[in-house]
Symmetry: C3
Amino acid sequence: MNLTGSHILSISQFDRESIDRIFDVADTMAPYAARKKATRVLEGAILGNMFFEPSTRTRVSFGCAFNLLGGSVRETTGFETSAIAKGESLYDTARVLSGYSDVICMRHPQAGSVEEFAQASRVPVINGGDGPNEHPTQALLDLYTIRRELDGKGRQIDGLRIAMIGDLKFGRTVHSLAKLLTLYKNVTLVLVAPKELAMPEPIVEMLRECGHKVTITEELSESIKSVDIVYSTRIQEERFTSKDEADLYRGRFRLNQAIYTQFCEPNTVIMHPLPRDSRMEANELDNDLNQNPNLAIFRQTDNGILVRMALFALVLDVANLVDQYSHDVRWFTGNR
Amino acid sequence: MNLTGSHILSISQFDRESIDRIFDVADTMAPYAARKKATRVLEGAILGNMFFEPSTRTRVSFGCAFNLLGGSVRETTGFETSAIAKGESLYDTARVLSGYSDVICMRHPQAGSVEEFAQASRVPVINGGDGPNEHPTQALLDLYTIRRELDGKGRQIDGLRIAMIGDLKFGRTVHSLAKLLTLYKNVTLVLVAPKELAMPEPIVEMLRECGHKVTITEELSESIKSVDIVYSTRIQEERFTSKDEADLYRGRFRLNQAIYTQFCEPNTVIMHPLPRDSRMEANELDNDLNQNPNLAIFRQTDNGILVRMALFALVLDVANLVDQYSHDVRWFTGNR
Amino acid sequence: MNLTGSHILSISQFDRESIDRIFDVADTMAPYAARKKATRVLEGAILGNMFFEPSTRTRVSFGCAFNLLGGSVRETTGFETSAIAKGESLYDTARVLSGYSDVICMRHPQAGSVEEFAQASRVPVINGGDGPNEHPTQALLDLYTIRRELDGKGRQIDGLRIAMIGDLKFGRTVHSLAKLLTLYKNVTLVLVAPKELAMPEPIVEMLRECGHKVTITEELSESIKSVDIVYSTRIQEERFTSKDEADLYRGRFRLNQAIYTQFCEPNTVIMHPLPRDSRMEANELDNDLNQNPNLAIFRQTDNGILVRMALFALVLDVANLVDQYSHDVRWFTGNR
């Protein structure tokens, strides 16, 4: 599958081959993200970073990825009253904004909005999250992280054993990651959630239909015993009807160094889509794990840069030109 | 008239020669806006894109135009509390901010504010809209669009026949466009508005004094029969005392494909300053016109990039250097 | 003291030698800030301009300084709800954001927050103001301005005579400047404030301990008679419990041209950290001083660009490479 000129809207558009291609290109971006080299391959290109809902980390990550390829970024950082309040359709907004830039990243609170926007856009659109629906680059960076972490152990995604923990009902990231795993073979999933926040049945069925082994449980310590990855999540408070309702579940599954040492296999990798809720009452991943070299949560966000660079490079068809336009990095990068 | 170092504050500062010059330079920007070429002529220059009132499209359009010339953009996207709330004068704000950048675009809710700012600024200032007062780049892009649309038919702005429709009382764009048309010869204007929202009398007089033919009517279908351009506008709800009052007029003049086919000459061009109000109760320009090749509303916003690039190039005196610093575009631009 | 890779958190981290070095490098930035030359030394580098509290001038100043060195800027312009509201720690925010950029400027309303952030950051962090605590680049640009203003008269900071006027209790800038002056010899300070807004006793003691002469007074006209610099400040209304309380002090010390002419030595330099409160009831520095060539308040903000460029160049270790990567400025810079 060739991604040149394509929209990136949903993980369901990818087959295994295209994911391999994205990840292989992401690997080639590592020296740029690590500031060993710089490139001006996209010098003159403009990213329209249209965030119609606030988001610091995803917005800045997309913008930096584009800057690292040499391009410029114009952006919006929240609903500005003007056009929408005046009755403008998404079709019009897309037609107008897509005349300005070479590629658009868009976040919008409404499910389906990014796809609707993309249909009217004259340039490729990358979904930066459309409410409860999709956030495909997060799913890709999660899977890419799994690939890299396993690779260090001579392993592949085929045969992965993973525990997903927390709010599996509202957690968009675990849904997407689970769906992506159906592209791989022989995966073992342990789903740890309060009954009321269980993984939706259709996703569980999809996993089982492709031959994966799925265990469902409400108990943390046993479930993390024989896995390669512990993927912890936050209670999605904003999806509940009240904070009180969310409080019922907050803090139910806490992982800290003592539990990790007691129950996990050596070198079990800990992931989390971030932000982790570090307040006393939640504390999904205790700060005492911060020194644990298997805590991969910040490698995940670092990998987000690589994956987003790869998507820009593929959609704009410059993956093979990045090195040709590279130049030296002249500044101090010693602490990175 | 040489624009080097000038402020762009009002359409009244232009004569016909300077408009011709701006439009000729805008023509030369087309290959850059279409990503056939890129230029780094303004590499190292900074635009201060100071929007003290939210506006996605105008703000992003100015920013992209500057990026397309190779420059960098720093911006503000709304009233930030700090300095103004602490009693700072526009004079001080201008003196400070104009020390940072090479040119400033400014939007501000208060009429006259941009001119006051410009007087204290040490760099050229371009008015991006000062409340109900002026928005000169919109007027220029409208006139430029008329020129290009007519040009395709071997016609000129002299001799133009145009219908202006909707809220002609509060619509800043139709006032400015009408004033610009006094620089041309033998224009026929059909002004279609509810009596309460009629074009202000001084503007009508100005048009008639220069020999233009002006018809005033409240009836849509007949008035669009013999014109080159139908220029539709939105009810400026935000200028009314209440939404109810605005509702009295909303949806009074609706144009759709059936009406267009029945009444308009073939190839009559449809324009609108955008955003168009696509809500059921308004629907000034029906979505069924979206496939009509004479719907020029998105060509207008595209032309906005050209006109703004031209203004930057003229004000900063690089119009003749753009090509010299051009380079190839390396990325996929196929869908544009 | 070598600043390569260092955080810039507090003025207390500097000795006289390092300040001299910063100021010498700032001097070399003048041709770039004046657009006599441009440089691409930081081409490919990214500044994370993280303003978790609104601020137009400081934010734009940092961003422009980085652009002038050829780098790109990604930024945030206020508290966005997402991560913080979801319980993310500053540690996590820092670990994530510092993976994106090469250097971070940060403003945050909470004292100590920037230092906490810096401890977790993988790249150098520059404090852009942490609430009532520190704003070191403001203090440095103030001192740099004093150096330059005195230099024009063949004088040095040693032996400086300065009057500080206004809200010396809550004014962060005067505290920082006073502390910096303890690095110099033989300084005379006249502190003019209402008794309730007097300079904190520990700072006065610090000044006296290093041999400086400190006079405390509530009377303006006599106190400005024999000084090189009059440093006026704004009543920090936002630090009072009510506007009424602030009003008690507002407008107590007004300087205008008549008072200046009557009391000041010729060529006494007037400074102010800005914004100055120009409302009738405050009017610390009257507008009739705007034509006075000794009004240095806009030279201060201009110098802010030089000092911030110098800090970036030193922290990223490119101070000696700036000229090597310079190129011509092609655009009109005549009004500057």
